[in-house]
Amino acid sequence: MSAISDIGDKTGAALAASVKWAAGIIDPPLRWLQKKAGFNGMAAFFLAPNMLIFGIFILVPMVINFAYSMTGGGALFLPDRVFVGGDQYGRLLTCSDYSRPITCTEDQFWIAVRNTAIFVVVQVGLMIVLALTTALVLNKSLRARSFWRAVFFFPVLLSPVVVGLIWRWILQRQGLLNYILFQFGIEPTVWLTDRFWAFVAAVGVSIWAHMGFYALILLAGLQAIPKDLYEAAEMDGTRPARVFWRITLPLLGPNLLVVLVLALIRAVQIFDEVFVLTGGGPGTSTLFITQYIYEIGFASVLRNPGLAAAASILMGAVLVVLTLIQLGVGRRKDPKEAAK
């Protein structure tokens, strides 16, 4: 025991000495700098590396992207491009009948917008219901609860490409699912080349991949609701449905709102796993906005970086609105806090 603490003491002393030695070396230049730059200058000095990275990889690309959206032609480098003003936005937004994407100049964009809108509503709606159900079940004193929690959270850790590949392997024509169905004598379906089933697969796979994350947030919210409240309700003879609607749901409200906004933001951006799974097909049935941007900007033969940039600015605007809502939501007071 004392030998161990002795070793601990020695290691500590050695560590402290080396830190002291390092500090002794960088101390003089830093002192000199502070004398030169002043107190606030030092703050700027320490913030600089972070701001530099943020600037190079986020701020500058954003500005350049905006600049691209005001230019036309197929040239890749900005100086070679022609300034066209708002023409790209005009092209994206021109339709003779807004209810029919076919009549739009950029019909692919509108198909992608419509697909994304349907996807967002269906995927987010279903996923929240499923995540809430999962959280409610996990919140019961279930045997091996942490095991189940891990099972539901596991897909969140997978890379989207891996998710897409796994499910393609399961759903493709000669995939696992059809094999199993065949064993039961059920006619195989070509899941990923059927317009309806491919969309269902896109929704289902993205729910599978992300639900665990939201279930975990909701589970944390459920566990923060004081047990006393349920016991008080039990003493009052409150029926389970009423407990859910009048106590659990309102107290989970702030968490649900956070989950809703986060899920919306991610659903609007849906791309990688679906692209790997279906490639946007069959036809355009699982073509979403990000994929449209990617294809117009980089992949198609007649690539049009200006148009892609304009589309991404429009999508960015939607995301900014959602993010602002999320920030607003995050500031609201949680009634659960008052119960403690």
Binding site: T238, R239, L251, A338
Partner: protein, 362 residues
């Protein structure tokens, strides 16, 4: 009308036995207080009565009807939680109405009951506020109000005052006593504060390690504690204990040799003891006095003197190193290091045998 009877009640959580063999009879309209140190099982016992937990052994009856397996809601009891457990997202009024709405009570009657409870507890002005916008004392009243509107056959209160500051606790204590007088409903009250227990209770149930140590009226427990634990637990400051040995049992009692230095008469059943039996003598700090000249007392050394004006609290050490606390009337000019002799009066002496049981009959 509501009499609550527990017979042979036991409760285990897995291998841990938390309550054993509890027999208890709480009379109609009685204010019963469960008291005991932290972790002794008070809350568990209350939750068994409430129906929030089921006993592993024994049965619970309310007015002679077996309710051991009856759901909490059907027992007609109301509970006030230590945390108040008010629904934070509902107004005070909604909090009061919530339980009544469950039983599909007509709106007018709900309204009437809320008005009555609000008047009684003076929470009328806050009916539209949320619990988060109330002070601790106001929340406490709302919690009690939520119990009152249900018109229960008995109230169960688990340390309802422990979240309040000292001053508020005293005034709420008085209000609770008044409320009980007025409603005349059975109340079971859990606390670890023995002053609350003494002031509120018709009868106190002292618990320790999941067992009942003694049940009785406050003064009964104070004057005739059934064992050393109750003697030490009830009364503030705590009773002093001194080791002693029986000498010459006979007649009305026996003489005891205290610390080998003093001989004291003890009134007790002499037949229950034998010569040289080691016993413990207990005496409350307020019952100690300075020994008269030539009186055979116990000599102690003064460590600390707290002069409170009307009385003087003297912390001392006896010959065997045990601490002895004396509360002496008036002002005494002692200093640390002084040696003083304390006198013991037979009528204030409590004697306990080796197992801690009271030697003097009831």
């Amino acid at each position: 009308m509501s009499q609550i009877t527990l017979t042979g009640v036991g409760k285990s959580f897995g291998a841990v036995q938390v309550l054993r063999n509890i027999d208890l009879d709480i009379k109609d309209g009685e204010f019963a207080v469960f008291v005991g140190p932290s972790g002794c099982g008070k809350s568990t016992l209350l939750r068994l009565i409430a129906g929030l937990d089921t006993p592993t052994l024994g049965d619970i009856r309310i007015d002679n009807a077996d309710v051991t397996r009856t759901p909490a809601a059907d027992r007609g009891l109301a509970m006030v939680f230590q945390s108040y457990a008010l629904y934070p997202h509902m107004s005070v009024k909604q909090n009061l109405a919530f339980g009544l709405e469950n039983s599909r009570m007509p709106k007018a009657e709900i309204e009437e009951r809320i008005t009555e409870a609000a008047r009684m507890l003076e929470i009328g002005p806050y009916l539209d506020r949320r619990p988060g916008q109330l002070s601790g004392g106001q929340r406490q009243r709302v919690a009690i109000g939520r119990a009152i509107v249900r018109n229960p056959v008995a109230f169960l209160l688990d340390e309802p005052l422990s979240n309040l500051d000292a001053e508020l606790r005293v005034s709420m204590r008085a209000e609770l006593a008044a409320l009980h007088k007025r409603l005349k409903t059975t109340m079971i009250y859990v606390t670890h504060d023995q002053i609350e227990a003494m002031t509120l209770a018709d009868r106190i149930v002292v618990l320790r390690d999941g067992r009942i140590e003694q049940v009785g009226a406050p003064l009964e427990l104070y004057n005739k504690p059934a064992n050393r634990f109750v003697a030490g637990f009830i009364g503030a400051p705590n009773m002093n204990f001194l080791p002693a040995k029986v000498e010459e049992p006979g007649g009305e009692g026996f003489f005891a040799d205290v610390l080998g230095e003093s001989r004291q008469a003890v009134r007790a059943n002499a037949a229950a003891v034998r010569a040289d039996q080691p016993i413990t003598l207990g005496i409350r700090p307020q019952h100690l006095r300075l020994a008269r000249e030539n009186e055979d007392g116990v000599e102690v050394e003064v460590n600390l003197v707290e002069a409170l004006g009307s009385e003087t609290v003297v912390h001392t050490t006896a010959g065997n190193g045990d601490p002895v606390l004396a509360v002496l009337q008036g002002q005494r000019p002692f200093n640390a290091g002084d040696r003083i002799t304390l006198g013991l009066d037979p009528e204030n002496l409590h004697a306990f045998d080796e197992t801690g049981l009271r030697l003097q009959g009831n």
